[in-house]
């Protein structure tokens, strides 16, 4: 049963546009993440949020920004998308940070930048 919900499933946009992806978890976890999965399936962590505080911020371009209203929601905004942003963006949640044993993923949002 899906416990990490992502919307939309797919999004196609033009270079330079702004996009926003939503994520909600119903597991009661206290940490949420955004991962980027490229065309070769490589998974890279972008951000993690614990109790509304940014814990990990990898060297992602400044046009990416996470937005959280509470511990159950973590959205991702991309200002002025570029072709290399085409990928699947996976939201995840866990108990505590770096707790792979409780890490649950959503089904992803596939972004295509034309």
């Amino acid at each position: 049963e899906t416990a990490v919900f992502q919307t939309p499933n797919y999004h196609v946009t033009q270079v330079g546009n702004e996009v926003s992806f939503n994520c909600k978890q119903t597991l009661g976890h206290d940490t949420m993440y955004w991962y980027k999965q490229d065309s070769k399936k490589l998974l890279k962590i972008m951000f993690s949020y614990n109790n509304k505080q940014l814990i990990v911020n990898e060297t992602v371009p400044r046009r990416f920004s996470p937005q959280s209203s509470d511990k159950a929601h973590l959205n991702l905004r991309i200002k002025s998308v570029e072709p290399e942003d085409s990928a699947v963006y996976l939201c995840a949640s866990s108990w505590g940070t770096g707790r792979a044993e409780t890490l649950y993923f959503g089904s992803g949002t596939r972004l295509t930048v034309l």
Binding site: V4, K41, L42, I45, G98, E101, L103, S107
Partner: protein, 112 residues
Amino acid sequence: QQQVRQSPQSLTVWEGETAILNCSYEDSTFNYFPWYQQFPGEGPALLISIRSVSDKKEDGRFTIFFNKREKKLSLHITDSQPGDSATYFCAGDDTNAYKVIFGKGTHLHVLP
């Protein structure tokens, strides 16, 4: 540098055979190693995991063998089924750095 390496990149076996997926890591701070299974159109899901204090973990047809000295582990899938066809990710849990490091994955294709 924290890295998790997987091999082979792609593996094809016949139904009923044993598939062996390999993984190695560099960082000695890793003490927990989960394997995730990902089907097309879905996110990765935890399949089986092992802690560094153990050398073997079994769950049905899935077994992890762990060699701490050599920093290597492997996932064995016995009696492989076409439904096992997926991408398998090995990961290392580095709680000191507050992040999970994933390998690049092994795509398994089980032929009927």
